[in-house]
């Protein structure tokens, strides 16, 4: 039986600690991003190759070059900004909404988690609905929330932020609660042996202990809030944002297909940037020694 050493075994057994020279860490970063770049390039080649091989029309799948070209054409019949600038403006607008919703929902989720930890009875009563609330296709209600709040006289950004916040709070509540509960009985006993007050136990043990859990859920929440922001921009009447951009581009697809791809790119840009920021914050706050497996 021919057998080679297990590749996965080597991957899991602790590797020799990387030497700290900047050159080595740079080389490691390059080595890590090389396969990713490889996959991206493969996908782009497959894009153009499938156009050639299957004769897919420009109407269905434009050339990559056409997409880049359209980014630099002026909008509004040649009088407006170039599309790229407009795309970034819209992305920025959506990003702000997502950030607002993220902060609001994050605080709500955090508050709920702390409340549930203190009052288990409340948790038992409400948790099923916190979970159940997520099976409500909230996105289905989103347009109504926007329209409804608009009629009540609230500014449009408030409605959008509400939708984004709604999508954000849930993962934060779940993750944070799990984190707050993760303190080991022994470390709790240690705190009690110091006659620590509940507040001290919270700030010095439970909170720092829950940070890795919190960040895991914040990463989920980051993507959720972006989705919320985009869907909240879908109802007719939105004047800015990625959602509006997608709708417009979809409606005028026949006359200018590449614009829709640019809009999708804008949406991805917002999502990935937001996620990346949270991941970076995690790296800085929780420290590299505890981020395992991303």
């Amino acid at each position: 039986m021919a057998e080679k050493p297990l590749p996965s075994l080597q991957r899991i057994t602790p590797a020799a600690p990387a030497s700290a020279t900047p050159g080595a860490s740079l080389r490691a970063a390059v080595r890590r991003s090389l396969p990713v770049a490889g996959v991206i390039v493969t996908l782009l080649i497959a894009w153009e190759a499938s156009k050639l091989a299957f004769g897919i029309s420009d109407q269905r799948l434009p050339h990559l070059g056409a997409i880049i070209e359209v980014m630099f054409t002026r909008t509004q019949g040649g009088t407006g900004n170039i599309l790229l600038a407009q795309m970034l403006l819209n992305a920025w607008s959506t990003f702000q909404v997502a950030l607002g919703g993220f902060l609001l929902g994050g605080m709500l989720g955090f508050g709920l988690a702390v409340l549930f930890m203190q009052l288990p009875m409340l948790e038992r009563g409400l948790m099923p609905y916190v979970i159940g609330s997520q099976t409500v296709p909230i996105l289905a209600i989103a347009p109504m929330v926007v329209v409804g709040l608009g009629r009540m006289g609230a500014p449009s950004w408030a409605a959008k932020i509400t939708v984004a916040a709604y999508l954000t709070f849930f993962p934060v509540t779940i993750g944070m609660l799990r984190g707050l509960r993760a303190a080991s009985p022994m470390s709790l006993d240690l705190m009690r042996s110091y006659a620590a007050s509940p507040a001290q136990i919270f700030w010095r043990l439970r909170l720092p202990n829950s940070l890795p859990y919190l960040f895991t859920s914040l990463k989920v929440a980051a993507s959720a809030s972006v989705i919320g922001a985009i869907v909240a921009e879908l109802p007719a009447g939105a004047r800015e944002g990625v959602g509006m951009m997608i709708l417009n581009a979809a409606q005028s697809y026949n006359s200018r297909p590449p614009a829709l791809y640019v809009a999708i790119l804008a949406a991805s840009l917002v999502g990935v940037t937001f996620y990346g920021m949270v991941a970076l914050a995690e790296r800085l706050i929780v420290g590299s020694q505890r981020t395992n497996g991303g």
Partner: protein
């Protein structure tokens, strides 16, 4: 044995507080809407939503089934593909190095942005484009989760297999796959809720006449809010059933937990 009364006691414990909370929540919603005189077009009272639902339950459930079947087919395809690619990633680590970071990034991309494009490719009225949205939505979380599950066995459990001179196939079937099951079910639970949401929202961008998303959008557009909410109720129902079905299967499959 004492185990049986104890467990029924626990069930009561688990069901009564939520029941009270449910009654309180629905009750206060009803009272608030009526008491504050919130206009119907803004937010209907629960009783009105239920009444609207009861006017044409067969129709609403019918379009619910149409949308749900998109969600079901889409998540079946998406999750299967996710598992398959995860297995490929374990077999060829280089593929994993390239794909897994992208899949993580892709789960940060709002997939719904793709739905107009998929509508253009596959026909915005056809269910294929809705199914495709769900496939893309469920594929990435499944891939990331299942991959993590497949590589979750610790070094010593792998070492044990190594000591038996076990084949790659044995390691995959007898160690990695069972170890990945909890991760898979985690992904499936995420996908159950995601897929229903995806199927409904995909229909916002156009779809067949008889579909939940189209119905919600049309009714909400002409301020038939109660009608829209009754459709949301149906969407909830299907989403919840899907989720519960997964949990039930999980209980059976992970009995060793």
């Amino acid at each position: 044995m004492v185990a049986i009364p104890q467990s029924t006691f626990k069930i009561q414990h688990a069901f009564i507080p939520p029941l009270i909370a449910f009654i309180l929540a629905v009750g206060s919603w009803e009272v608030l809407v009526r008491g504050l005189g919130i206009p119907l077009y803004l937010l209907p009272a629960p009783s009105q939503v239920v009444a609207t639902f009861l006017e044409r339950p067969a129709y609403l459930l019918g379009i619910g089934v149409a949308t749900f079947s998109n969600a079901l087919v889409g998540s079946l395809i998406g999750c299967s593909l996710g598992c398959l690619v995860a297995a490929v990633c374990v077999r060829w680590p280089l593929v994993a190095d390239g794909l897994v970071p992208l899949a993580v990034a892709a789960s940060a991309v709002p997939i719904i942005a793709l739905s107009p494009l998929l509508g253009i490719w596959l026909g915005s009225i056809s269910p294929a484009s809705k199914v495709a949205v769900v496939v893309v939505m469920t594929f990435f979380p499944t891939l990331v989760n299942v991959y993590r599950g497949l590589i979750s066995p610790r070094a010593d459990t792998l070492m044990l297999m190594h000591s038996y001179a076990a084949s790659q196939r044995d390691i995959f079937l007898k160690l990695r796959t069972p170890a990945a099951l909890p991760f898979l079910f985690n992904a499936l639970r995420i996908c159950a809720t995601l897929s229903m949401i995806g199927a409904v929202v995909a229909e916002f961008f156009g779809g067949p006449q008889n579909a939940l998303g189209v119905y919600i959008k049309t009714e909400a557009g002409i301020l038939h809010t109660s009608e829209a909410w009754s459709a949301i109720l149906v969407a909830c129902l299907f989403g919840l059933l899907f989720y519960l079905a997964i949990v039930l299967v999980e209980r059976r499959a992970l009995r060793w937990k």
